[in-house]
């Protein structure tokens, strides 16, 4: 149970090697000995992983433009979810920076939306997890924890899908709930069709998408 961790990282195209940076964050966050769910620990951990990431490119002959991008480093949105048991209760802990989101759903309610809780706030150049500590600005991670109730659902979504899902949940809940059901049943083809159709409809931004649903069973 102590290693029951889930996360999504979405590399920003404007960074240098951001795809690999996103993968690095996912790999190391889930593999850490202790869960990284406090701001202090997250900041320390990002610095360590960033230093290691930077070494990949050090000393290599790069073109002037690649060199410049490499010096700025990579950027990624990150949202992580960890579960732990304490005194026979199950708790969830989440930490996020950027526009990849966690949605905690209970029955027909949205219990928590993290770090963005308003669809209007997507697309506003969010602070992201930077691989270069020198370009870290005042970045405040969103951190939250609560008890898990039987039947709770946890969705981790990248920005385009998170914006669409949150908007749908508020204005057309059956659309959002149908999406959840498709994820819950593992209907990957239907999810792909839905994404394609909503892009055509112009309600889902044409961007990379990743979605993960964690369901807890009703006892």
């Amino acid at each position: 149970m102590s290693k029951l961790r889930f996360c999504v990282a979405d590399g920003a195209t404007e960074g240098f090697d951001s795809r690999r940076w996103a993968r690095t964050l996912v790999k190391h966050w889930t593999a850490a000995v202790l869960p990284i769910t406090t701001s202090e620990r997250f900041e320390h951990w990002v610095n360590l992983v960033g230093e290691r990431f930077k070494k990949r490119w050090e000393g290599q002959q790069l073109s002037w433009y690649a060199q410049e991008k490499a010096e700025c480093g990579a950027f990624a949105a990150f949202i992580g979810l960890s579960f732990c048991e304490k005194q026979e209760h199950l708790f969830w802990h989440a930490i996020g920076l950027g526009d990849s989101c966690l949605f905690v759903r209970r029955a027909d309610q949205m219990v928590k939306s993290l770090p963005i809780d308003d669809p209007a706030n997507f697309g506003n150049a969010p602070f992201l997890v930077a691989s270069n500590p020198a370009v870290h600005r005042e970045q405040a991670c969103a951190v939250f924890s609560d008890t898990v109730q039987s039947g709770d659902r946890f969705l981790l979504l990248t920005d385009a899908m998170a914006a669409w899902y949150l908007r749908s949940f508020r204005t057309e809940p059956t659309e959002a709930l149908n999406f959840e059901e498709l994820l819950a049943k593992g209907c990957d083809d239907e999810v792909r069709q839905l994404v394609t159709q909503r892009r055509i409809d112009g309600v889902l931004k044409n961007d990379d998408v990743a979605a993960m649903l964690i369901s807890t069973e009703k006892s």
Partner: protein
């Protein structure tokens, strides 16, 4: 909705820098800046092109979201790229990034991490060198820009329309440019009409007018002529303006009159940063 097309490799846009290289560009802006206008403008355009290249760079690849043209007019009229790109009219940004005329080593002030500033070495690619010679054949220059646009638009009918960024320090010496400039403005893609922005620079900074909504504050006929051939800037440029503290409204024109060095930097920064990049 016009000017909403996403700029991507499949739907690139183009930027045309149209630069006055007449002899008066060898004079300074006045005030504290001792550099000739031509030197300052070349530096700004080189930095802006650098930024365009960096914006299109993904790890080690430059993606062709933009095509770039530099046209100079003065003693001669034509493409103004230096070095390997010399003579080219419209160049994909990947080739621009690969082929600067040279890369100079310069210094820039950077934080030393302890509250002070230190000089740090930077590589500064050069694509255009300063030129200041001859008269101001603005009509012929606009005419050449029209031909470049025709070539582009014959192949790219769908994307975000081209943006022409024109900088001058004086009056046209080959006639009233209104008619030929309006022909430029009448060209379009499916996403909207070509955008023409005009920046006039001079040493008369006290009567500077930046991004006006109407011509009521303009001091003379030259200003009104340039205002009349400047596009109303669509919302795609408003965010770039607000990020540097300039507030645009619905009728704001891409026009500066009696601009100083700061105006030149802001003019090119705003004009090359539509928010539609994917």
């Amino acid at each position: 909705m016009p000017y909403s097309s996403e700029i991507s490799r499949g739907n690139p846009t183009c930027f045309i820098f149209l630069l006055d290289q007449s002899s008066s560009m060898s004079e300074t802006f006045g005030g504290e800046n001792p550099q000739p206008k031509a030197v300052f403008v070349a530096d700004v355009v080189n930095r802006i092109i650098h930024d365009l290249v960096i914006r299109c760079t993904h790890t080690e690849e430059i993606r062709n979201y933009y095509y770039i043209s530099i046209v100079g007019y003065g003693a001669s009229i034509g493409p103004a790229f230096s070095g390997n790109l010399s003579g080219k009219t419209l160049v994909p940004v990947a080739d621009v990034g690969e082929m600067p005329a040279r890369i100079e080593n310069r210094t820039k002030k950077m934080s030393d991490g302890a509250g002070g500033l230190v000089d740090a070495p930077v590589r500064f690619p050069i694509w255009i060198d300063p030129i200041a010679n001859g008269s101001t054949p603005m009509c012929q220059a606009f005419s050449l820009v029209g031909q470049i646009l025709d070539d582009w638009l014959s192949q790219k009918r769908m994307g975000f329309p081209p943006t022409v960024l024109h900088l001058t320090d004086g009056e046209s010496t080959d006639g009233d440019p209104t008619a030929v400039a309006r022909q430029i403005l009448s060209r379009s893609t499916s996403d909207g009409q070509v955008l023409l922005m005009n920046c006039h620079v001079s040493a008369r900074h006290s009567t500077k007018v930046e991004f006006p909504n109407d011509d009521s504050l303009l001091p003379d006929d030259l200003a009104r002529t340039l205002f009349g051939i400047s596009s109303v800037l669509p919302e795609a440029f408003h965010r770039a303006a607000s990020e540097i503290g300039i507030r645009f409204s619905e009728g704001t024109r891409g026009f500066v009159f009696n601009g100083d060095p700061v105006s030149v930097v802001q003019f090119f920064e705003i004009g090359t940063r539509p928010s539609n990049l994917r």
